[in-house]
Structure formats: structure tokens, C-alpha cells
């Protein structure tokens, strides 16, 4: 174990809604940071540095939103750095916070995630600008049509069906009913999913995530300071990996297929290696995966090495990833039921920490000791993976 291993003291998140008209951006951050500090039984004076996570600022409508919001949570005077790796931002920020501690630079770090997508009249119009301006933007590929391409490839690659996707949607929506912070609280049936509006074949409305306003915050500290606490989550391992930009370069080679993102495997392998995990299916207790579309979650089972090549659907068909299954995935409901983009990775990280601390409430996985949290950015391009544990080693 690292001498300066980082430990998570607490986690706070806001209520997630399509539009949080009751608060401004800074107030949203204040809500999350206050909750995290209270959950950590600490105060802002104990924070040595801040990592701020927010994805494209076009969503907020404010350039450099970290500076705009600093006064709202007491960040003024502290070192503050803003991290942005698209949807992976929250995961990257959590790892950045850990590195600041592990390097010995700081003892206690606050990681803050914010996204206020409601300020943008058309989120997909923003997403369209992520593509190459000369060759691709005119094609109007966006996140939904891009993931639809992945889903259609998954149908051929491992036999993905509408039933598999519907099962994932229902599992996550059911789990969200147990999570008071989830954006969507809705009883749905498999038939509801299969009859929902088609948005880009084969994706339907209930295969996708909502647009959410919200914020999240995590307090991390050094091993020495964590030793005085009775209940913390330890960051045992972390990985970060980037794929090539062009989808065409990822369609098929000896180790890659558009259906199964290899960069998630690279990130997980790095995290597993650091954490000493050799058999993730049997060693992990719970997973909080960043999968905003139901088909992505199925593909990720293989990327996370829970299933052999082409057999991720076995975990769906056996119900293994249900809340009471052998390897629960997204007991919180995941980002299919709340997706404040730049903060989402941090929510996954915080939820995984709560699980190994035994404080996840109604969606607690019994006896959770080792959890994986992931995040994804770009079109399956940037991935992070973090292993949270109930014990330091």
C-alpha cells in the first residue's frame, strides 16, 4: 500500500432535476459541499486544496465556472484546479484529488463536481461541437446517434437484444427507487421500455439517461489523518486511459471492437493491478459504472473483465448484476437515472465509497468491501476506474 494512500471521509450530492430553478450554480455547489463536509464531520477550514470538476462550460453558460462558484463554498484562498475530461471529468477529478494527497502535497482535498445542463437550450447541439469541425460536425453525429451505432454493432458482436437492454433499464430504474437522490423515480416494466419512443434505432427513450442539473462533492484525506476515523473508504487503485479519437480507428483490430471499449479495460486493468485484484468477478462486491445508455452497461461487463469475450449478456440473462445478485451494478440507479455530466463520475465514486463504508442506505449491498467506480468521456474515449475498499490493505 502507498505510504500516503488517500481515504474518502465523506460524500455529498444534491437533488438532481432537469432544471434546478430553485438555486444558482454557486448555490448548487454550496448544497453539495455542505453535505460532503457534514458527512465527513469536518469543515472548510480543514480543506487544503480543491479539485473542481465540470465538463464543457457551454453547459453552464459561464466561462471558468470554478472561479464563479469559489466564494459560495469557501474555496477562496485555497489552491483550486479545474479538471475537464468530458463525461469522465468527475472520475478524473477524484483521481486528481487522490494524487495531490498521495504525492504528499496536501493532506485534505475537496473534490467538487458541477453541471447545470439546463442553462443550455439544446445539449445535443453542444455535443455536436465535440467532433472534428472540418470532416465530422456537418454529419451531425451526436451522443445519441453515436451510441446507437455502438448498440447496432453490439447486436452483431454479442447478440444484444431489446430484451437485454430493457432488463438493464428496469434494473436501474428499480434501484433508483431506493435512492432518494436519483433524478428519475419511476416504476417501469420491461414492456414500458420496449414500447417507449424510439430515438435512434435501436435506442429508445427508456434506454437513455436524463439531462440533470446537480452537483456532488467528496472529501479525501491522507492515511495519517484517516487513521483517526472509524469509518472511511480507501482508494486502493486507480486507472485512467485514453483511446484514439476517431471511431473508425476503434472499429476493429486485434484487441478492439466498437462494441466493447478497450480503454475501459486499460483503465480497469491499471486499477486492478494497483489494488491487487486478479479476479474482479469474484473479488469485487459492487460496481458503480458510468453507463448513460443501457446497451453500454452490457458491453462494459466484458470491458471490466466480469465476463469472457462476447459473454456480457450472460450476466443479464442470469440476473447477476441485480441489486441482490452476486455482482450488483449501479445499486444507486446509476447515471441512467441521474446524469449531471461533469459531476456524474464523482457521484459514481462517492456512491462506491458509501457502499464500502456501509452507509448507502436502502440501496446498500450487504457486506460490500471492495467496489469499482468508473467514468467515461467523449464518445467512449476517456475512461477512469477507481477501486474503493473498506480496509486499507
Amino acid at each position: 500500500m502507498k505510504v500516503n494512500a488517500a481515504a474518502i471521509l465523506g460524500f455529498g450530492q444534491t437533488k438532481f432535476r432537469t432544471t434546478r430553478t430553485d438555486v444558482s450554480g454557486p448555490e448548487l455547489v454550496f448544497e453539495a459541499v455542505s453535505a460532503a463536509l457534514a458527512d465527513s464531520d469536518t469543515d472548510i477550514k480543514s480543506i487544503d486544496a480543491v479539485v473542481f470538476a465540470s465538463a464543457p462550460e457551454v453547459f453552464e453558460g459561464v466561462y471558468e465556472p470554478d472561479r464563479w462558484t469559489m466564494e459560495a463554498f469557501g474555496g477562496v484562498g485555497k489552491p483550486v484546479v479545474r479538471v475537464h475530461t468530458g463525461g469522465a471529468t468527475g472520475g478524473s477529478a477524484a483521481i486528481a484529488g487522490a494524487r495531490l494527497i498521495e504525492s504528499g502535497m496536501y493532506d485534505t482535498v475537496l473534490i467538487v463536481g458541477l453541471q447545470r445542463t439546463s442553462e443550455t437550450p439544446d445539449a445535443q447541439a453542444v455535443f455536436t461541437t465535440i467532433f472534428d469541425p472540418i470532416f465530422e460536425q456537418d454529419v451531425q453525429l451526436n451522443v445519441i446517434t453515436g451510441i446507437a451505432l455502438v448498440a447496432s454493432r453490439q447486436m452483431k458482436y454479442f447478440g444484444l437484444t431489446e430484451d437485454h437492454m430493457a432488463w438493464i433499464s428496469k434494473k436501474n430504474f428499480d434501484n433508483a427507487l431506493l435512492n432518494p437522490y436519483a433524478h428519475l423515480h419511476k416504476h417501469i416494466s420491461v414492456e414500458d421500455v420496449k414500447n417507449s419512443r424510439q430515438i435512434a434505432w435501436p435506442l429508445r427513450l427508456l434506454h437513455t439517461c436524463p439531462r440533470s442539473d446537480g452537483a456532488a462533492a467528496v472529501v479525501m484525506t491522507s492515511r495519517a489523518k484517516a487513521a483517526r476515523r472509524s469509518k472511511v473508504a480507501w482508494l486502493r487503485g486507480a486507472g485512467h486511459a485514453t483511446d484514439v479519437y476517431r471511431l473508425g480507428d476503434r472499429i476493429k483490430d486485434s484487441e478492439s471492437d466498437l462494441a466493447i471499449p478497450r480503454a475501459l479495460t486499460w483503465a480497469c486493468d491499471a486499477a486492478y493491478r494497483e489494488a491487487g485484484i486478479t479476479d474482479p468477478m469474484n473479488q469485487l462486491s459492487v460496481i458503480e459504472v458510468y453507463a448513460p445508455f443501457s446497451n453500454l452497461e452490457v458491453g462494459y461487463y466484458e470491458s471490466m473483465r466480469l465476463a469472457p469475450r462476447g459473454r456480457g449478456i450472460d450476466l443479464v440473462e442470469s440476473g447477476a448484476t441485480a441489486l441482490r445478485g452476486p455482482i450488483p451494478v449501479c445499486p444507486s440507479g446509476g447515471c441512467m437515472t441521474a446524469n449531471p455530466i461533469g459531476a456524474t463520475g464523482l457521484v459514481r465514486f462517492g456512491e462506491a465509497a458509501l457502499q464500502v463504508m456501509g452507509r448507502a442506505g436502502d440501496h446498500q449491498v450487504d457486506g460490500a468491501r471492495l467496489a469499482l467506480a468508473t467514468a467515461c468521456g467523449g464518445i467512449d474515449q476517456f475512461y477512469t476506474a477507481a477501486i474503493l475498499a473498506s480496509q486499507p490493505e
Binding site: 464563479w68 475537464h84 475530461t85 494524487r99 485514453t242
Partner: protein
């Protein structure tokens, strides 16, 4: 144990009003030359930490399309949306934590592609109460200066920012890495100030960042032989020298002082310091934001 970071190589494209070529080509020129200077291949680099602005680059998640030129394929990619010295600071944490033995830090500015660069900083203003006033960031500074000096300070007397294209890259390593060269970074500091608040001296965040960097380096300011400044274009060197307790003659500025290098300013200042033959510890600092409220500093020494 104080954190020390080795430097294996560096490179930059000297700032110019326009450097022909695509953004990818600018970045690739800097990163590939830094690798050559370090005598390392991209396969020997563990991760990349970069500083870039979506709005300056002209698209959301702008680094998506830049993986090839930054060299982050199959590696950790950390990206900050602050000045390049913040990328140095966070990159040092990656190396210092043991997560990376070798790390590419890069930053760039291609403001010649931006139709109206001065429109971007205004978007940092609070949208409901302040932005509609249409203040230019220089006007904000002037108002603060007027308030503190009880005199009128006019924007018309201030040189306008001059947008520049540039790209810079530095290869950082463990201090005991075989590729580590003559220089080491031994001090890191960062601080922030309030958002447009009157009464806070404009250079207060810079003073705090510098104090933290010197403290972590374990040296007094009197030991500093040269101060390389990135950004702070509106603040004259005498004022900076006075705030830091150093002689104005030790300060090195970008030429012209009004050059706008975007988020690359701090990293370009660092490359300038690496290219500076002066003997003794060097301080590199940058400050940015509407009120220069985000400041970073590092201390560089020759082994």
C-alpha cells in the same frame, strides 16, 4: 520529504500573432520536440497532463481530437482548464504519487483561429448581475485599482491584449529517473482570490501562491535569481516586484507584455526559465482570471 520533480526535456513554439498550421500540428511540433530533447519516445511516457480551454480551442471537449498530438493514446490523460502552471502542479502530483514515472505536460494557444478573443473572458462574468454590464476584464481591474487608490483609472490608457499562437511542452520525470536532466522543480504553490471582490489586492493570490512555492522549496525569496512571469499583462513589473519583495530587475516578462498566450502563458514562462542561463533558483509564476484571482507558482533549480 519535500517533493522534487525531474525535467527531462522541453520545447515550445515562440509566440507569434499567427503560426500557420492546424492546432494539432502546433501541439505535435512542441510535444515531439520535447520528447526529442528528452531522448525519450512517446512509448516511454506514462501520462499526459495538459492545460486547454474549450472556448479558445473552438469546440466542447476540445482535447478529444488532440489525442494524437498530445500523445495520450493508451495513457492517463489529465486536463486542466486553468493556466499551464496548474498542469505542472497537477502533473507533479501524478509523478510524486508514483502514478507516473514520466509525464508530458503541454499547453497551447491558437487565438488566431478565434474570431473575437476578447469576447471570451467576458463570459466568465456572473451572468445575471455583471455580464450585462459588458465590462472588459481590463475595466474590472481598473475599477478595482480606482477603488484602492481613490483615483480614476481609465481603460483607454491600457494596452489591449495582443493574441498570440504558441504551444509548449515539458517532459517531467521522477527526480532519480535516468532521463532526468539538469533541472528540478522543488517548490509548488497555488492560490485563489475572490470573484471580483473589492478591497482584495489584485496581487494577493499571487503573493500567496509564491509564498507557498517558496515554503515547499524551503528557500527564502532572497535566494531567487530570476522571476519569469506568465500573464498579469496589466500589472507592471515594479508592482509585482514590490508585492513579492524582490528587485524589479529580476523579473522577466513576455514581450510584448500585453501578449495573450491563453492557458499556455505559465508553461511558456517555464520554458523561458529553462532556457535562461542565469545561475540560482528561478521562480515561475502566473495569474489569470478576471481579477487575476487564480495564481500558480513553481520554483526551479539546477541540480
Amino acid at each position: 520529504v519535500a517533493l522534487k520533480i525531474g525535467i527531462a526535456g522541453w520545447s515550445f513554439l515562440p509566440p507569434r500573432p499567427e503560426i500557420p498550421g492546424a492546432l494539432d500540428e502546433l501541439i505535435y511540433s512542441a510535444t515531439s520536440a520535447a520528447l526529442e530533447d528528452a531522448a525519450l519516445s512517446i512509448q516511454q511516457i506514462d501520462g499526459v497532463c495538459m492545460a486547454s480551454s474549450d472556448l479558445n480551442d473552438g469546440r466542447a471537449i476540445s482535447t478529444m481530437t488532440l489525442t494524437g498530438s498530445t500523445g495520450s493514446f493508451r495513457k492517463s490523460e489529465m486536463r486542466v482548464c486553468n493556466d499551464g502552471l496548474a498542469a505542472v502542479w497537477l502533473g507533479a502530483a501524478e509523478v510524486g504519487s508514483g502514478a507516473a514515472d514520466t509525464l508530458m505536460v503541454c499547453a497551447w494557444s491558437k487565438l488566431s483561429d478565434v474570431v473575437n478573443p476578447t469576447a471570451i473572458p467576458v463570459l466568465a462574468m456572473e451572468p445575471t448581475m455583471h455580464r450585462a454590464l459588458g465590462y472588459h476584464p481590463d475595466a474590472v481591474l481598473n475599477l478595482r485599482e480606482s477603488q484602492s487608490t481613490h483615483s480614476l483609472v481609465f481603460t483607454t490608457g491600457v494596452p489591449a491584449l495582443e493574441p498570440r499562437d504558441t504551444a509548449a511542452a515539458v517532459v517531467m520525470t521522477r527526480p532519480d529517473h535516468p532521463s532526468a536532466g539538469r533541472y528540478q522543480i522543488i517548490g509548488f504553490g497555488s492560490s485563489t482570490g475572490p470573484y471580483l471582490k473589492p478591497d482584495e489586492p489584485v496581487l494577493a493570490p499571487t503573493q500567496r501562491a509564491v509564498a507557498a512555492a517558496l515554503k515547499s522549496a524551503g528557500i527564502p525569496v532572497s535566494d531567487i535569481c530570476r522571476v519569469h512571469v506568465g500573464g498579469l499583462h496589466r500589472i507592471n513589473s515594479e508592482e509585482i516586484a514590490s508585492a513579492l519583495g524582490i528587485g524589479a530587475g529580476t523579473i522577466v516578462r513576455e514581450v510584448p507584455q500585453a501578449a495573450d498566450l491563453g492557458y499556455a502563458a505559465g508553461l511558456v514562462a517555464m520554458v523561458n526559465a529553462l532556457n535562461d542561463d542565469a545561475e540560482g533558483p528561478k521562480l515561475i509564476l502566473s495569474a489569470a482570471g478576471l481579477g487575476m484571482e487564480s495564481a500558480n507558482a513553481v520554483v526551479l533549480v539546477a541540480k
